[in-house]
């Protein structure tokens, strides 16, 4: 049922963009009530909130973050840095309600770590946060669909 909803929603994306109205239109196509948006959007919203909250913690030290990242690359610090990322990713997916127990677990965790770091680096360049937000949402949406 979720797959059908996803396919129906994708048909409306060219007209409505990566928005909840595309999902609502898709839901109407497959005879689901508009509240079906929650089926797809609930988890994405939570992932989005988790990542943006985590990145917001960086705001006060943004100017010094590149230096921090360089320090993370040192051989003795890499282990701690990797552990910190994996703990964050683990929390984010648990919060978003992930219950996978197969290889998709690894795809989701690796993918979120990559997305989080990429967005983090992008935000360092003072780009407007709004466009990042919507890119983030469609990246996460693709994880939930796998």
């Amino acid at each position: 049922m979720v797959r059908d909803l996803v396919h129906a929603a994708m048909r409306h994306v060219p007209a409505r963009g990566w928005t909840t109205s595309a999902i609502a239109a898709g839901a109407a196509d497959v005879d689901l009530p508009p509240s079906a948006v929650g089926l797809l959007w609930g988890g994405v919203d939570k992932l989005h909130a988790a990542v943006m909250a985590r990145l917001a913690l960086l705001a006060p030290v943004k100017s010094l973050w590149p230096e921090a990242l360089a320090l993370c690359g040192r051989p003795d610090a890499v282990g701690g840095a990797l552990r910190a990322t994996s703990e964050f990713v683990d929390e984010a997916w648990a919060y978003a309600g992930d219950v996978s127990t197969d290889s998709s677990w690894y795809i989701k965790h690796a993918g979120l770590a990559t997305a989080y770091h990429t967005i983090g680096l992008y935000l360092l360049t003072d780009a407007p946060a709004l466009s990042v937000s919507s890119t983030l949402c469609c990246v996460f949406a693709s994880f939930l669909f796998t």
């Binding site: 683990d90 648990a94 996978s100 127990t101 197969d102 290889s103 677990w105 965790h109």
Partner: protein, 167 residues
């Protein structure tokens, strides 16, 4: 601990799937295998539920066990009903022993709060031993090369447990 149990039940379910693919229509073995497979499915569902709740990551080898289990099921079933039963006996021997070890660990210090998990593992262990008895009752020991087959399968299971604990 839970990671290995999950991997084990996944493997068991795939073994039965493989065996049913070959022996599904056998008048005696078919229903028997289906019944045991149904119980393993319940076990797997329990671990599928426990893993995310306890934030345990699944073993990275799930696709490997999935394929290997199915191949083992098909291979032993092609040796006939006795072969399939011999496989069941070998696998259940290792799994029941493994659950026993885990229950023993959970009876140790610091695990007082784990009574529900202990009870679950005990129940699963008892059901696995039932499967083993079923296998033995169905002439497993008369299977072609029973001794050799058992040793190989038991060795494979132990290797799978070793790897799933670590990876």
């Amino acid at each position: 601990m839970l990671r290995v149990d999950h991997a084990g039940e996944l493997g068991a379910r795939r073994i039965y799937a493989g065996q049913l693919a070959v022996l599904g229509r056998h008048p005696v073995a078919g229903p028997l295998l289906r019944e045991m497979a149904a119980q393993e499915a319940v076990h797997l569902a329990a671990f599928d539920d426990l893993l995310p709740r306890r934030r345990v990551r699944p073993t990275v080898l799930t696709p490997v066990w999935s394929v290997a289990g199915y191949a083992l099921g098909v291979g032993t079933a092609l040796l006939g009903v006795r072969g399939a039963m011999a496989c069941t006996v070998a696998v259940e021997t290792v799994i029941a022993g493994h659950y026993n070890d885990q229950v023993r660990t959970l009876l140790g210090e610091g695990y007082e709060a784990e009574a529900p998990l202990r009870a679950t593992l005990r129940q699963f262990r008892d059901e696995e031993m039932e499967h083993k008895e079923t296998g033995l009752a169905n002439e497993a020991e008369q299977a072609f090369a029973y001794r050799g087959l058992s040793k190989v399968i038991e060795g494979g299971c132990r290797a799978a447990i070793f790897l799933s604990e670590r990876v």
